[in-house]
């Protein structure tokens, strides 16, 4: 700690010397929405008539711009908002908040300010997808629930984990290789109802940023991507209620000031009620079934003074499924984040976070006379300190550290005392996960920019308990006992990150990036679409950290005064210490689950194309990805490269939104993708009186191709200052394509001497309707 402090002081000294040559002053402040007072994330603030002097707001809406003494017109802008410009006569450090008004005249082709900066070209980072929360409203939805994870899947390089599934694969990475952060807290399972809905209530969300590659150094812990989700603070101007009523679920949001212009709160609640319909079922067994989910988001924030602000936010959600008193399964996430924003000066922004996150599941069963309960849990206690130092328009620094204590209860079975079953409590796992990072954004001129940084992580598995090592047959060959808190195994990794942007002219840029990521928590999931009961394990003597090195290169171009944007990116990823499962692996309630794993390398590469029309009556995009993801693991397919289960060759998504009038908007999405790699039998035989499939290689076959059209209509019934209401109609799978959810092999019921392949399709023509209101 002392060393870190000395290091930081040294950096400050060097930088302040280098910057003291000219008389410069700093304009700093926030960019906010006029109606709610919500800070806008990623808004650009720049000097008029200059191509290079500008900045953008950070995750708390703060900006700091240091420029020489003089007179300026400074412009702030944000997607969906009117451009705001203010004149400054800069003779001292100035605090100023830009208050933006939502753009209501979207119908006409927006007159593009020639000076308008375009992020697509000028941002140094690549591999980023931003979800516009305005756009989400109009995209067709599944069962009336707007869903950020479903929308993200329509971006190039992002693939859905399956029909109706909110899981996603980024650039060949598995679903567990995405770091999903809700107000900085890790969300370990982002699915409701086995993935048909995501845990994120769109009403509560302010900003969604997805990093597909070249992640900035402040993020780490997962190989493939970071999905950074920030919730709304709530209006500090007036009380408001917003809600929606759908076929499957309803939601309600309340927000308002605690103290006008100083603090606000927001509470979001959502519950599904499909189970209420079960009460009307004729079948008595059906009546006893339970099936619902609910979640709450709540947030409080208070601005103590100009330099200090605190936030407290939390999420709580659960899925409950059951059959009478026979069986119950529930699972859910809890997250809590306390944050303190502090300005050390106009140039140094600090955020301190204390974060808690928890995922658990419980199974209750009294089947077969056994009254038992199964519990499994993963918990994080996280302390995070981040600094941003806005030295000048050319230099920006980010640095900080992060310390997480992970606690995993892999599985505990408790039974009644009179049961013939003994209790089982798999050894708890503890780990300490530390990281420090430093990154520097350097924009020497208007034509070139860099962000480079480094992240050092250490991951330690901690005692107490017995730790095993295994031979190649999976047999225990050595057992070592450790005391409470003793370090069993520590891995250090150095993760360099680098991104560069070469701006060819106002319309064209070329970007390159390289990044190394490591992952020390691994999800053991050996089913096609994932289960809530899948288990997270930390790195250990047997399981080494997964490492990925990704290089990517992209070309970015804007057309027609930025109405159209185009980008293409190629990437290549090399993966180390990848995990797959032995034949017949037993992962559940197995103290030696690590002995069921095989390790090897992997590679993923692909090219992505993206063309978007950003404004006008008609908006939308086309995304196409060609990709390949392979693994090479001793013990599988003779140690040759084989396709990973998430490997898909082609992936196309087309989104179109057309605003007929202020009242009517229609939208359509079409997706197409190659079927996943899958293991099918190549023959059959009989053993022990059973007909058994004969398998010859893993992932040697493909599921059939998938395609689907969704349609949506939004009817803005009323929109006044006091009250807004709208109806949303959507039709999922409009042409009723029978997409394969699974393929099973079974005896032909008409001819028991034959076998057949049976395809199960989940959704054909799912219509839905929802009513949304706001006052």
């Amino acid at each position: 700690m002392k060393k870190i402090r000395l290091f930081l002081i040294a950096i400050f000294c060097i930088l302040s010397i280098s910057s003291s040559a000219q008389i410069k002053y700093t304009i700093s402040g926030y960019v906010k929405d006029i109606k709610t007072g919500e800070e806008l994330i990623g808004a650009t603030v720049f000097v008029k008539d200059s191509k290079t002097i500008g900045t953008s707001t950070n995750a708390y809406g703060f900006f700091s711009l240091t420029i020489p003494e003089g007179n300026y017109i400074i412009i702030a802008q944000y997607i969906g908002y009117e451009v705001k410009s203010t004149q400054f006569s800069l003779k001292q450090n100035t605090k100023y908040n830009f208050i933006l008004t939502e753009n209501v005249t979207q119908l006409d082709e927006v007159v593009i300010n020639a000076e308008k900066k375009d992020d697509n070209i000028t941002k140094n980072l690549m591999g980023i997808e931003k979800i516009n929360m305005q756009e989400i409203k109009n995209i067709p939805v599944f069962f009336g629930e707007k869903d950020i994870l479903k929308t993200i899947q329509l971006m190039p390089g992002v693939k859905s984990a399956g029909e109706g599934n909110s899981g996603f694969y980024i650039r060949g990475g598995n679903a567990d290789q995405n770091l999903i952060l809700l107000d900085e807290a890790t969300v370990y399972n982002a699915s409701h109802l086995l993935g048909f809905f995501s845990v994120f209530n769109a009403d509560a969300i302010k900003d969604v940023t997805l990093y597909k590659g070249g992640q900035p150094a402040e993020f780490g812990g997962r190989l493939s991507s970071v999905l950074d989700i920030r919730t709304k603070d709530g209006s500090d101007k007036k009380f408001g209620i917003e809600g929606g009523i759908g076929l499957i679920s309803s939601r309600l949001k309340i927000e308002g000031p605690i103290v006008n212009d100083k603090g606000s709160f927001t509470i979001n609640a959502r519950r599904s009620y499909a189970d209420l319909f079960l009460k009307f079922a004729k079948d008595s067994a059906m009546k006893q079934r339970k099936l619902y989910f609910y979640d709450f988001n709540a947030k409080l924030n208070y601005r103590i003074n100009d330099n200090n602000r605190v936030f407290l936010s939390g999420y709580f959600g659960k899925d409950v499924l059951g059959f009478g008193t026979q069986m119950g399964v529930d699972w859910g996430n809890i997250t809590g984040t306390f944050r303190w924003n502090h300005l050390f000066s106009e140039k140094i922004f600090s955020n301190t976070s204390i974060i808690f996150s928890n995922y658990d599941y419980n199974i209750n069963t009294i089947l077969a006379g056994t009254d038992g309960e199964i519990i499994s849990r993963i918990q994080d206690y996280n302390f995070k300190q981040d600094f941003q130092y806005f030295l000048s328009t050319k230099h920006k620094f980010k640095f900080g550290f992060n310390s997480i204590y992970h606690k995993i209860i892999p599985g505990a079975i408790t039974t009644k005392s009179d049961s013939s079953i003994s209790e089982l409590n798999l050894k708890h796992k503890q780990a300490l996960d530390n990281a420090i990072y430093l990154s520097h954004e350097y924009n020497p001129s208007g034509i070139i920019g860099f962000i480079y940084g480094i992240r050092l992580t250490s991951f330690s598995t901690l005692g107490p308990g017995d730790f095993y090592s295994y031979n190649s047959l999976g047999e225990t060959i050595d057992t070592t006992s450790y005391n409470n808190g003793e370090f069993v195994k520590t891995y250090f990794t150095l993760e360099p990150r680098f991104a560069a942007n070469f701006i060819l002219n106002e319309k064209n840029s070329v970007k390159v990036s390289y990044g190394r990521n490591t992952q020390n928590l691994h999800l053991l999931s050996n089913s096609t679409s994932g289960n809530p009961t899948d288990l997270w394990i930390p790195s250990s003597s047997n399981v080494k950290p997964e490492i990925s090195d990704q290089v990517s290169m992209g070309y970015f171009r804007n057309f027609k005064n930025n109405v159209y944007e185009f980008s293409t990116e190629v990437y290549y990823k090399h993966l180390q210490n990848q995990i797959d499962y032995k034949d017949g692996a037993e992962l559940r309630f197995n103290e030696n689950a690590e002995s069921q794993l095989l390790f090897g390398t992997g590679r993923a590469y692909g090219i992505e194309f993206f063309l978007k029309k950003k404004s006008g009556r008609f908006t939308g995009w086309i995304g196409y990805t060609y990709a390949k993801t392979e693994k090479k693991i001793g013990g599988i397919n003779n140690g040759e490269y084989y396709p990973a289960k998430q490997d898909r060759t082609h992936d196309i998504s087309i989104v179109g939104i057309y605003e007929f009038s202020k009242k009517w908007t229609i939208s359509a999405t079409w997706v197409y993708y190659t079927g996943n790699a899958i293991t099918f039998p190549s023959g059959k035989y009989e053993v022990a009186g059973q007909l058994v499939n004969y398998y010859t290689e893993r992932n040697g076959y493909r599921m059939p191709d998938y395609h689907r059209l969704d349609l949506g209509v939004t009817w803005q019934k009323k929109k006044t200052e006091k009250f807004e209401s709208s109806w949303n109609f959507s039709l999922y799978n409009a042409y009723g394509r029978e997409n394969a959810y699974s393929i099973t092999f079974q005896e032909d019921p008409n001819d028991p001497a034959k076998t057949q392949a049976v395809q199960t399709t989940l959704f054909r023509w799912v219509p839905s309707i929802s009513y949304n209101f706001k006052f």
Binding site: S529, F589, P681, F763
Partner: protein
Amino acid sequence: MKLFIFNTRKNAIAFVILIVVSFLISSCEKVININLNAKAPQIIIEGIITDQPEPYTVSLTQTVNFDESNNFPPVSGATVIISDNSGYSEILTETTPGIYTTSAIQGTAGKIYTLKVTANGKEYTGVATMPPPVNIDTLTITSVNTPKGSNKTIYVNFTDPTGINNYYRFIKIINGTAQSSIFITDDLLKDGNIINQPLLSRGQDEVKIKSGDMVSVVCQTIDKNVYNYFRSLLQLSTGGMINQSSSPANPLSNFNNGALGYFNACAVTSKTIVIP
């Protein structure tokens, strides 16, 4: 019990999917054509030796392509040898095509047996240890409510020997017909306990037990490798579950050289009741 809990857990998931599917969704099934590669046939060896009087048999068959009928050609003309760790060895005689039978060897608990098969120019060897027998104390019946209605379930009640790992396989025989469902358990959570093991079957084709039926249960004590064979065989028969294993594979055979099947050396006890 380990397996039983897995079963209920798996059932829980299957059930969850089932209700999600049946209520939210208009799911549908259809038969499709998939071009599954024809592969060179592979041998299946199924061999057993018990502590009961001989003869014991070993059967040799071959895989067929997926679109062919379920006629599995026998493998004739093979050399099949069973030997034990006391130096005894016997060549089996092919009594019917693909079925090889012993003539003298008597299985004894505690011995290690080796089955060696030479067929079509390849040699396959499997080794199994015969654990000591465990007696069934009683068979009992309970009615269990399942999502599909009320079912009578047979419980096998026995005392697990303390201090050693035991693995069991049970065969349910209803009115003289052995059921094809596989029942196995280990003593992971209940070493030395009195175990009440329900013989709940996952198969669809199971005959329902009714009053007056004569039900016998055979208890085989098996070694760990044979247990793992049946455990991994059970993993494959997911009963039409739609959230399948993403890496289905052939069961873990105790034969080398890629042969499918198993060699089971087991001690056997049994018990019979008439359903009241």
